[in-house]
């Protein structure tokens, strides 16, 4: 257990204390108790920069389940640290923002911060553990905390729907990832990522390699909302805005990207890896940006934008994998894609985080996020407007913001696909830059919609619930910090190039003895990328200005996406099917359940008798029969059978008593005096109890008609036959000598009693008897409760 482990689990520990703090200090916003932790963790992780900047890593191991090869191994390398800083950094800002966003008098802050801390710890665990099983555990934890946070306002139908949807899709992916982990374990015999990477050359030709790859990708795609699994993310926006900014844009949805980056050294050799990741990524990029244009909700625009940007990072990682196939890594010609991926990951967190917060401010101060109702807010919220401008222009890829730099690099990466001549890239590769460019045009358009439809144009006060005004300063601090980062990184990208980007790249594609060196330049000369950007801006402005004319193109696809409908109907069908299936056998009739039990009894015992060849019939060692005994046997048989046919309740009770007394006579004959006595007493009490109960019961208006049921008869005859056969076999097969002799010898010696049965009950098997008494006591309590205590409903009935 090291300080690093403590850092990972500290959010969980704080989560335990949050409810206490909430109860004790109701006057102070609970967020203030939470805020110090992410700040502290952020500064703690900053201290690792000195190590990872040299593209080294720290590993601290802590034995957890050594028998299964599961150790809580925490590893800080460039990639893990980058994510850890994002998680704690954005986490601090989000907590600060939430203090002003969530009203301490109206919201249940204790649960909110417990969920948020759970998420923070789980996410740190995902990015810092080197053991796949530990990673998986934390991975599912992030899904759960996301579920809880989306459903935070659980009284809203849409929140519950969104929470369930995200849960089903991400946990489905998580399970698939678990399958991939197990497949990797089967191939390598270890759960440690570092060890798997070290031995990745050997598993490449293994038959399980491709299935494992697919399983991992399914996990990554569902988590990172890649097409067609992106449908959960728009519904996840029902969560409070700080959560959307944190989980569903900056951190959790990037866990899939993290997974792809982390597993690249293992899988990237395979062409499928490149094709799937790049293909799905670029499709997601295109579809997300296209869908964002037609949204009318600020958060919905941002969500589809997030989907598309995640696709963009994903596709870059896919293209980057191709670089592995060229021996020329040295000149980092092809690794530019990976650089762009990491760089854009950071940039996206900054500008999208600030934009979500801006959307939250607009929602908070006006009461709506609908851009059809908003407009002209520029004069009321100048600071928010400025922040929105910075964020959206960066998102659109305009200079001098950081989004411009990574967008240029993205184009570079895509254009270089044209020069790759592996895996048939020379035939279909041209699609990558084309789709990338088209998607960028859409990105430009929705960015402009976002800022100009909200802050310029006609002010419609009658549409707004509140009179708009600038947000309190506390709410503005976080987006201001993020927006300043957008500008700072935009102007001085190289402050992070060798501290954050290169180390991360070294972790994604480790090359023996090679040190990555990244430099980001503003001006590359008149390159194709520059012309692409210019084209995006020109066409984007043109399309934005003429937006109303193009409405019908964007609305060409029905409002409800076909994919969503597919999800809904699948859910409904599976629910109905399982309901019907259950209803088929759980129909609520006790008789049906008894039929199952007895049928199983017959089948299982008969099968055992047949399969084990256990049925034997041996009459050699039988006791003598006296004619009186035959008489008693006939009495039992006759009484029990006639119970079946009598209609009156009284008669059947008397017949049952007759059977009981005959049984006690049998006990006398079979040398069991204690049993005979007990049976006699018990039978008397039972019969009187029966009579008592039915004396008090009003007479039934008409005795229930008892129809003869063939199935019942068959089943009962079957049960009787099976039991007879078992009794015969048990008599005929004596497998072990009786242990009775032990009691004969020891009863007096050990327990000083002469009645063996009594000694066994109170001495040798004393605990048995004690529990028997306990059972009787419980039954007595139950009877007492039923007779004496009346439920509220019962009283009402009686009063009637």
């Amino acid at each position: 257990m090291s300080l690093l482990h403590l850092a990972i689990i500290s959010p969980f520990l704080l989560a335990i204390l949050v409810p206490i703090a909430y109860k004790l200090f109701r006057q102070i916003h609970t967020g203030w108790f939470v805020l110090p932790l992410p700040i502290l963790l952020f500064s703690y992780f900053i201290s690792y920069l000195s190590i990872t900047s040299n593209q080294q890593s720290v590993t601290k191991s802590f034995s957890w389940i050594p028998a299964l090869g599961i150790d809580f191994t925490a590893k800080v390398d460039g990639l893990g640290l980058l994510f850890a800083l994002l998680i704690t950094g954005i986490g601090s800002l989000v907590v600060l923002y939430s203090i002003y966003y969530l009203d301490k008098n109206k919201e249940k802050l204790n649960t909110f911060y417990v969920y948020l801390l759970l998420f923070m710890g789980a996410m740190l665990g995902v990015v810092l553990s080197d053991n796949l099983i530990v990673l998986y555990t934390f991975w599912e934890f992030t899904s759960f905390s996301s579920f809880l946070l989306i459903g935070y306002w659980y009284h809203r139908e849409k929140s519950r729907y969104g929470a369930q949807k995200s849960m089903i899709i991400t946990v489905f992916g998580g399970l698939s990832m678990l399958g991939g982990i197990i497949l990797l374990y089967l191939m390598t015999g270890t759960f440690s990522i570092s060890e798997i990477i070290a031995g990745s050359d050997e598993i490449f030709s293994h038959s399980l390699f491709v299935p494992a790859l697919l399983c991992f990708l399914l996990g990554a795609f569902t988590k990172s909302a890649q097409f067609p699994f992106h449908i959960w993310l728009p519904d996840a926006m029902e969560a409070p805005t700080p959560v959307s900014a944190y989980l569903h844009s900056a951190t959790m949805v990037k866990a899939g990207i993290y997974l792809v980056a982390r597993m690249s050294p293992v899988f990237a050799e395979h062409p499928l890896w490149l094709w799937l990741i790049a293909g799905f990524g670029i499709t997601t990029l295109f579809w997300g940006s296209f869908s964002a244009v037609k949204q009318t909700d600020l958060k919905a625009i941002l969500t589809f934008s997030t989907v598309s940007q995640l696709g963009m990072i994903m596709s870059l990682l896919g293209i980057g994998a191709a670089a592995l196939h060229f021996e020329t890594v040295d000149d980092s010609y092809f690794t530019v894609a990976t650089t762009a991926a990491v760089f854009h990951l950071i940039n996206h967190a900054t500008f999208k985080g600030s934009l979500f917060m801006v959307a939250g401010i607009v929602d908070h101060e006006t009461g709506t996020r609908d851009i059809r109702k908003l407009g002209g807010l520029m004069n009321f919220m100048p600071i928010t407007f400025t922040l929105a401008i910075i964020g959206t222009f960066s998102m659109a890829g305009l200079p001098p913001f950081n989004g411009f730099l990574s967008k240029e690099m993205f184009f570079t990466g895509m254009v270089r696909v044209l020069e790759m001549d592996i895996f048939n890239l020379d035939t279909w590769g041209f699609l990558f830059p084309v789709l990338a460019w088209v998607a960028s045009v859409f990105t430009f358009i929705y960015s402009m919609i976002l800022v100009f439809k909200t802050f310029t144009g006609k002010f419609q006060p009658e549409q707004l619930e509140k009179k708009p005004h600038e947000a309190p300063i506390g709410m503005l601090i976080s987006p201001i910090i993020l927006a300043s980062l957008v500008i700072i990184i935009g102007f001085f990208p190289n402050i992070i190039s060798n501290t954050l980007i290169s180390p991360a790249q070294a972790a994604i594609m480790p090359v023996e003895g090679y040190v990555y060196d990244t430099h980001i330049y503003f001006w590359h000369g008149f390159t194709p990328e520059l012309f692409m950007t210019l084209g995006v801006i020109t066409l984007g402005i043109l399309l934005f200005v003429t937006l109303p004319k193009w409405r019908r193109v964007y609305d060409f696809f029905p409002e409800k996406l076909a994919l969503n409908r597919f999800y809904d109907s699948m859910l409904e069908v599976s629910q109905r099917a399982s309901f019907n299936l259950t209803r088929l056998y759980m129909n609520g009739f006790i008789r049906t359940y008894l039929v199952y039990i007895f049928s199983f009894f017959i089948v299982a015992l008969a099968a055992t008798l047949v399969l084990k060849d256990a049925f034997k019939f041996d009459t050699s060692d039988v006791a003598t029969i006296h004619y009186a005994e035959v008489l008693l046997a006939l009495v039992i048989a006759a009484a029990s059978i006639s119970i079946l046919f009598v209609k009156s309740r009284m008669t059947s009770i008397i017949l049952l008593g007759a059977v009981g007394y005959t049984v006690s006579l049998f006990f006398v004959i079979f040398r069991a005096p204690d049993l005979a006595l007990t049976q006699l007493v018990i039978e008397t009490i039972s019969v009187s109890l029966f009579l008592l109960a039915f004396y008090h019961l009003p007479k039934l208006r008409h005795e229930e008609r008892m129809g003869f049921k063939m199935t019942n008869a068959l089943i009962s005859v079957g049960v009787g036959a099976i039991v007879t056969m078992i009794a015969l076999s048990a008599h005929s097969n004596k497998m072990f000598p009786s242990i009775a002799q032990y009691y004969v010898e020891n009863t007096y010696k050990e327990a000083a009693g002469k009645n063996m049965v009594n000694v066994i009950l109170v001495d040798f098997r004393g605990f048995d008897t004690m529990f028997e008494i306990t059972v009787l006591g419980i039954a007595a309590l139950g009877i007492f409760a039923m007779i004496k205590l009346r439920l509220e409903g019962g009283k009402k009935n009686e009063n009637k």
């Binding site: 006791a623 048989a637 119970i643 009962s716």
Partner: protein, 113 residues
């Protein structure tokens, strides 16, 4: 004797099963009563019948009947009495509250559980 008992036990089980499959709660209770009688006889028969004197050392007999099945049955008799009593009162109360002892009519319906 054991052979005869095997058939008696079979008949007891058969009647018990048939009763338990019926709709009336009272008949189900009577069925469980018969079932426990059958089970007791089964245990006793499996241990062998009339192998010697009653398991009382005071008899000073050369051999005794197996005491273990008897100890088990003694426990079982008392427990089955507890179950029957509980069951009876349950039926009695159910009848009072619901006005029927027909299991099918007592069946909980949707939203009524």
């Amino acid at each position: 004797m054991e052979i005869l008992m095997a058939f008696v036990i079979g008949i007891l089980f058969m009647s018990a099963t048939y009763l338990m499959l019926s709709k009336s709660l009272l008949r189900i209770i009577v069925g469980t009563g018969l079932l426990s009688h059958g089970a007791h006889m089964l245990i006793l028969t499996m241990g062998g019948l009339k192998k010697g004197a009653a398991p009382l050392l005071g008899e000073n007999a050369p051999s005794y009947t197996d005491p273990i099945p008897q100890a088990l049955i003694l426990t079982a008799i008392v427990i089955s009495f507890g179950v029957t009593a509980f069951f009876l009162v349950l039926a009695y109360r159910a009848y009072q509250e619901l006005g029927t002892d027909n299991m099918d009519r007592m069946r909980g319906t949707e939203g009524n559980d």
